[in-house]
Symmetry: C2
Subunit: 81 residues, 2 copies
């Protein structure tokens, strides 16, 4: 069984208030040296079988249409063995 | 500037209703061959400087105390160049 990981992050030009809140919390908790934090989503997809071209094409479509909002987010998809 | 990535996922024994909903949606949208989906969080942390031992120790502490709930989640932290 193969595993596919899809990371979904806000596009760089989109403000990330959650990330800014985390930077602020780091500072209050005494953690310094952090310039920026961006928060996104991670999906771990376990396949029944091998990651064929057809399955990966389907998952790219799902990553774009279901798992992310392409107006404000971009995704990265990779197969992990 | 270095970048640290923290992935936070539900522990394997914790049910993931979001992931199950995605598996169901995949099936309705004609995507087959997916056994399971788990949804988690991804944090991209940009440092001001180098990832010193002190900074990484701080970030491990933050990953455990602030970015994850250790009762139900586990995290993985890695430095990306």
């Amino acid at each position: 069984m193969a595993r596919v990981v899809v990371d979904v992050m806000l596009k760089p030009e989109i403000l990330d208030p959650q990330g800014r809140a985390i930077v602020g919390a780091f500072g209050r908790l005494g953690v310094h040296g952090v310039a920026d934090v961006r928060q996104g989503k991670r999906f771990e997809i376990t396949l029944d079988g091998e990651p064929t071209d057809e399955v990966l094409a389907d998952l790219h479509r799902m990553a774009e249409e279901l798992l992310s909002n392409p107006v404000i987010e971009s995704y990265a998809l990779r197969v992990e063995q």
